[in-house]
């Protein structure tokens, strides 16, 4: 079913601009009160809502080359996936039914799909910690709190009151900094006016020193992201699985696009490469 006029928040990440500095990840953590464990080298238990993956083209010296994939929650939409502008909008008719991989499996409705924003929520206080959603997410965007966070003495003073700190035994994930939309709405309610593109930007988008991240309403022609996702250099992670993510990536480098989706058709990658990929 086509639902073009829905507000759908999404993100475009320019891989060619990303220098892997991690400012986005850190900004995200400080915005969302993410804790730090004694041993964070245990990556499979380390909570990083926005994880910056490093990939390389596997070529020998001196043709080796690395690139970075910042990976927030994709806020998958389910439905039928495909090229932006078409199948992207074919989502499940019933938002309750939204076949976001994680939402449909949660037994306790601790995560839902907001039909008004397209954002996938996660409510730690409702979560019972069964981790079915973690198993369902192909992007490893969902993190389970294996430990109670050991806040060093004094550091809770630096926590933000707009995001509730999580307890042990629950799942958490990137929320597109939803608290910022809540505050933006409040401001609109009191001051009048609407929530504009710049009134609601995620912490990572703001922080990125090279402006690699763009955030906005995917279906709103006035928003930057709307134009960006039309580019032939735009692609998504694991498109063919049909998760229908709302996070897009851009790169002129063919090997990056291939790496992003082991299903991505040669054709698409090549055609994009043909038009001025710089490597």
């Amino acid at each position: 079913m086509w639902r073009k006029n829905q507000v759908r928040y999404g993100m475009v990440i320019d891989v060619d601009k990303c220098t892997g500095c991690g400012a986005c990840a850190v900004a995200c953590m400080s915005e969302n009160n993410v804790g730090v464990l004694p041993d964070e080298t245990d990556k499979i238990r380390s909570i990083t809502w926005l994880r910056v993956y490093q990939i390389d083209n596997g070529k020998p010296f001196p043709d080796t080359e690395v690139a970075f994939f910042p990976r927030p929650c994709m806020h998958c939409q389910g439905g039928t996936s495909g090229a932006p502008g078409q199948a992207f909008f074919q989502e499940d008719t019933d938002p309750q039914e939204a076949h976001t991989p994680c939402v449909s499996v949660c037994p306790a409705i601790a995560t839902d799909y907001d039909d008004a924003t397209g954002i996938v929520s996660q409510i730690p206080t409702r979560c019972i910690g069964c981790r079915y959603c973690v198993a369902a997410c192909p992007y490893h965007a969902r993190y389970f709190n294996w430990y109670d966070v050991p806040w060093p003495q004094g550091t809770p003073r630096g926590l933000s009151p707009f995001v509730s700190p999580r307890m042990r035994g629950v799942v958490e994930k990137c929320t597109f900094c939803y608290a910022r939309l809540q505050r933006a709405k409040n401001k609109a309610f009191v001051g009048g006016g609407k929530v504009g593109e710049m009134d609601y930007q995620t912490a990572c988008t703001e922080a990125c020193p090279s402006g690699a991240i763009t955030f906005g309403q995917l279906q709103n022609p006035a928003h930057k992201v709307h134009k960006l996702i039309q580019s032939e250099f735009a692609f998504r992670l694991l498109e063919k699985l049909g998760t229908n993510p709302k996070v897009y990536y851009m790169s002129k480098r063919k090997w990056v696009r291939m790496m992003a989706d082991n299903h991505l058709s040669q054709a698409k990658a090549t055609q994009a490469a043909a038009s001025g990929g710089h490597k």
Partner: protein
Amino acid sequence: MDWDRRTFVKFAVGAVIGIHASPLIPKFMDDTAIWTQNWNWVPVPEDGAVAYAHTVNPHTGTGAKAKLIDGRVEGLRAIRVEGNPNHPLSQGGVLPADASALQLLYNSEIRVTKPLLRNRSTGVMTQLSWPQALDLVAGNLANLAKNGQAHMAAALGADPSSTTGQILMRLMQALGSPNVAFTPTPRETMALAGLFMMGQPFLGFDLANANYIVSFGTPLLDGFGAPVAVRKAFAGWRGYPKNQARLVQIEPRASVTASQADQWLACKPGSEGLVALAMCRIMIDEGVYDRAIESAYGWNDADGLPGFKSYLLKNLDRAKTASLAGISLPKLVKMTLAFAKADRAVAVCGPGNSGDPGRLYDFMSVLALNALKGNLGKPGGVVAQQPLPLKSLGGALPEAKPPALAMAGRPFGVNNVHELAQAALAGKPYGLKTLILCGGNFVFNGPQANVMHDLARKTPFVVAITPYMDESAGMADLVLPSTHWLEGWGDSTTPFGSAVSCYGLHRPLVKSVDEAKDGGDILLALAQRLGGPVAAALPFKNLGEAMAKRTQAMGDFKKLAEASYWAQKRPAYGAMRFNTPSGRLELSSRVLRNLLSKGGRDADKTARALGVKAGAQTAFLPHWEEPAAYAEGAAYPLVMQAVPSLRTTWGDEAVTPYMVKILPDTVLANTDKLVVEMHPATAQQLHLQEGDAVLVESSAGSLTAKLTLYAGAAPGMVFVPLGLGHKDFGFQVAGKGMNFNRAVKVTSDPMSGMPIWELTGVSVKKVRG
């Protein structure tokens, strides 16, 4: 009816059913569930009125915006550090170090809250009151001065251009000690190169407007000048379907910069300067250079000395050079021609990957290349910054009599921390009795950490002025708590390489912990206690007042403090003014010549004595000499270079917990093991495999790490992450990895006298572990 077991059982069964028919069970279930949702060991941050305040992080130069919350009960506190969109350099972007600054500010497990006196033998710390502590230091210094040993007190500071740095300098000078040294930065090297060739100490690269950028071994995207500013420029270079500018990176490793560049020319380590000269040669051969340069002094032979052109034509064969640098000549030529053709091309030099201040002759070579390109003073070229309108804190003070430890035998130069330490340790010409560590955490940051460690250990009385219980504090007899930059006054000046001059300032935004004072205030209070000329040299009540005086020319201080920065409006384009003896661009530096032959000395001898192998024939020209690391001998066959990363460190601040958290396992492996990179082939020769525990050993020190094989690492080299391996800073940071600066060997640049440590000869052996 009679009571027996069965009747009672019936009653009991009834009662049990009855209880289940009451709200007891469901209510208890609900409330226990709610209890798990509100465990009292999960913090509940207090809500309140939100306010923003602009400031500048002096360690990164980032224009920041602190998000403050005024809670009804807990009062004002900072909950976030965001970017300041108005700041001309960082334009709203931040670094990991900025965004996680609060983790250091509020972690009371690592902050120093009261003056502490340490018992060297037992290591026990005892609290002192401020008066006691200050009297202790003042007494010690006064005593030295009385016995004419003032020069035996040395002070190390973070940033000489900051007001606190200025105060420190005046304090020591007035006391009569020449021994003040600061964290070495490429700013000094650039200033010298600029002075020698153009009489311009403040040069910058107009990256934002360039459309062809060649970077000579400097980590443009991993920390260069004000890293955020560079990234903003980089963002402008990118675009779809075609990039707006072309970036060429010349360095031995497939670093982030090399990968994000449009072209990576892998060169031999330390040969970047040589490549710059080769490009000059090619441009001359092809005749694609700005003819204006022919009027420069030293273009042709002059005063019996070879000119730049003839030097290149005679000594720099293209093919040989290319192979020496390990670059294919055709590629180099092609790139050079593109560079020469581009309308807004710039060649960039700067800090090395290991964070060293760079080699003077490399800088000069790159400047010469830019001159050849003819981009001096042009948009997208090399521009001279407008000097910051800063007043000095007072009249000139008399030079201290005894020679400074660091400058022994050098006709000029900057005060070299490393040489200072080594001379003091050797006791030649004299040793130290008192050492003041004012920020910079030298015991960790080095440059050669183990030397600094020894200095702190050997010196009888060590004072550390620091916000944290860091490595320096750990070695000090007296630890004085200074404020975190969000708590106190302070400032920083134009970052390296910036096209416009920019003054950053931070002020108290939140209540400082316990008894911490601004570093500057501590020094001023010390001066007052010392009285006499010292007090007279620093007549300020507090740091704020000193800063106010210094920044008079920048307008109302209160407004300035709230804006948090002063910046030159736009780069100073137009023909560059050369304040050289010849009044022209000097490819063969007369300033340098005069310095070397000062007092009728034989310039050639002096040059050779300093270690300029070529001697006076080329000593004044931009030229290339082999890095010392090559000559380490068979015992140290490999070359070690650091891998800088904004995830590990930038500036002299410690890595924060969040930064540690996001380190990939190619930097810090499970569990907390430092990871070093090596090319698979090199590893094979050494019979090493992925994951081996290795000992990386130089003639100066060593470190152990886990080995990872990376095809993008130049063969014959080993790459070590920079900035890890803290002993302190709490359980989230301490003991993560090892300190690069403990394995590095620092030498001095023959000409600038700056400490350099870009490359170190090392051996890598497999060890158990």
